[in-house]
Amino acid sequence: MTMTSATVVEPRALLLAQNRWHPVEIAFWLATLLPFYFFPSYLSLASQIAIAALFALSLDLILGYAGIVSLGHAAYFGMGAYTVGLISKLGWGEPLSLLVVGALSAGLLGYVTSFIIAPFRHLTLIMITLGIGLLLLEAANSASWLTGGADGLQGVRIWPLLNTFEFDLWGYTAYSYSLIVLFVVFLVARRLIHSPFGLALRGIRENAVRMPAIGAPSRTHIRKIYTISAIMAGIAGALIVETTETVSLEALSFERSADVLVMLIVGGAGRLYGGIVGSIIYMVARDQFSGVNPQYWYFWIGLLLVAIVMFLPNGVLGGLQRLTAGWKSRKP
C-alpha cells in the first residue's frame, strides 16, 4: 500500500468494506431456506441446528471476540429453557412472551455471574465458569421437586405461534420460528461486532494488559458482553423448549457446554459465522451417526479436537480463509 504525499487515503475505506454484506453471506442466508423445499422431512433437525447455531453464536461473542473461555455456558441455555418450561407448566404457553421472559431470566443470571467472572483470566476464569455451570446443574438436580430432576419437566405445553401456527411434528413452524429468531439475533450480533464495542472486545482478546493502559474499563466491557451473551443463550434455550416441549437436566449439563464449544471451534471462533457453520457440521454429522454408541461418538469428537488444535487452529472458516485469497471481508 503506497502513498504519495498528495494522495489522501480514505481511512474508513477498509472498515466500510467489512461492514458490507458479502455475496457469500447473502447466498448463505438464502440457502437456509432450502430445507423447506429439498429436505422437508428434516425440518425438525434443521430447527435443532438453527437453535444450536444461536447458542454457538452466543458463545462466540464471549470466547471468539472477548477471549473468555467458558466451560459452563449451558447454565444460561438451561436457565432460559427451564424458565419457559416452568411458566408453561403454570398455564401460560404463549411462545413469544415466553421467549422474552426466558431471555430475560438468563440475562439476569448472566448479569449477576458476570460480576463473578469479570476480574479473572486464565485457569481461574475457566474454573469459575466450570464451577458456575456445575453448581447450577447440581442445584437443579437437587431441586427435583421443581425441575423434575433427571426425568425432566412433564406437561410442558406451548400454544400455537401468533395463535395460528402450531408446533407440530413436521417442524414447519419450528424451523421457520427458529430460523427467524436466529437471523434477528445474528443481525444484532453482526451490528455489535462492527461497533466501537465490538472493537473494544477484540482489544480485550488481543491484549488484555494493554486495555487499561489506553483507558478502557475492561471489566465493564466484559460484564456487558457476558450479559448479552447470556441473553442470547437463554433465547436458544427457550427456543428448544418451545419447539420440542421437553426440558431436562441435559440442558444444563457439561456435555451441552462442551458440545457448543466444539461446534464453535470446528467452525472457527471470532469469525461471526463460525458457530453457525460448526453447528451445521456437528449436528448433521451427529444425525448421520446417530446409530452409533455415544461413547464412540465422543472418541471421534476427541480426535477431532486434537486434530483441530494441531492442524486447523482457526476451524473450518479459518482454513477456508487461508485457501481463498480473495476473501474480501477480512474477518478479525
Binding site: L63, V69, L71, I116, P119, F120, H122, L123, T124, I126, M127, I128, L130, G131, I132, L134, L135, E138, A139, N141, S142, F254, A258, L261, I265, Q295, Y296, Y298, F299, I301, G302, L303, L304, L305, V306, I308, V309, M310, P313
Partner: protein, 287 residues
Amino acid sequence: MIGPFVAVMFDGFAYGMLLFLMSVGLSVTLGMMNFVNLAHGSFAMIGGYVTVTLMNHLGWPFLATLPAAFLVAAVFSVAFERTLFRRLYQATDLDQVLLTIGLVFMSIAAVAYIYGTELQPIHVPDYLRGFVTLWGVNFAVYRLFLVAVALAVSALLVVGLEYTRFGAQVRAAVDNQRMARGLGIDVDRSFAYTFALGSGLAGLGGALAVEIVGLDHSFALVYLVYVLIIVSVGGLGSIAGSLLAAIVIGISDTAGKYYFPYLGAFLIYLVMIIVLMWRPAGLFGRR
C-alpha cells in the same frame, strides 16, 4: 454422637489424601509450565484400569499392581508429552484446554470400548479389609492404608524437593522459569521428569481409588473436576496448597454428603468459587 462425627471426618480426610495423590502432579506441572492439562484425570483412570486388569485378568496381588499403575500412567504421560503437549507450551489457554479435553474424550471412549461401561470389580486382599477400633471409633483398614501411603508419598516429595538437586531445580523452575533457564537449569528436562512423576502419582491415586469410589469410564471426567478444584484452590505449584485444599475438599464433600445430602456436590463448587474470588491464585499460589 462423637463416633460418627470422627468417622466422617476421618473418611473425609482419607478421601482428601486420595485426591491429593491425584492432584499434586497437576499442581506442580501447572506451576512450572502453565500448561493446562485436563487429561490429568485420564492418567488417574489409566492407573485404576491397570490395577483392575492385572488383578482380575493376570492374578497379580493388589500391592504389586500399585507400582505398575504408577509406571504405566507415567509412560502414557511421557508419550503424550513428547508427541503433543510440548508443542503447545506457548499456545493459548483455549488450545491447551481443547487438546487435553479431546484426549480425555478419547481415553474415556477407548476405555469404554475395551472394558465396557460397568463398574469394575475389585477384591482387595483380606488384610486390607475390615475395621480396626481405636479409641472407641471404627476406622476402615483400607482407608488407614490409603492415608499411610499418601503420607509416605508426601514425605518423599517434600524430602525430594528440599534435599535433592533435582528438587532444587524444580523449585527454581516453578518460582521463576526465566531466571531458572538463565541460571543454566534445563527446565524442559526437569519438566519432563516432573510431568512423568506427577502423572504416575495420579495413576497410583487412581489405582487406590477403585476400592473407595469405584471405577468406570466416566472416572476421568468426574475426578478431573475434583482435581481442578483442588489445584485452583490450593494454588498452582504448591504441594502444601494441594494437600490443604485436598483435605478441605475431601472433608467438605464427605461431610457435606453425610450431613446435608440435599446439597450434594453443590458445596464444593461453592467453596471453590468463593476461595477463587478471595484468592484468585489459590490459597498458596503466587501472582
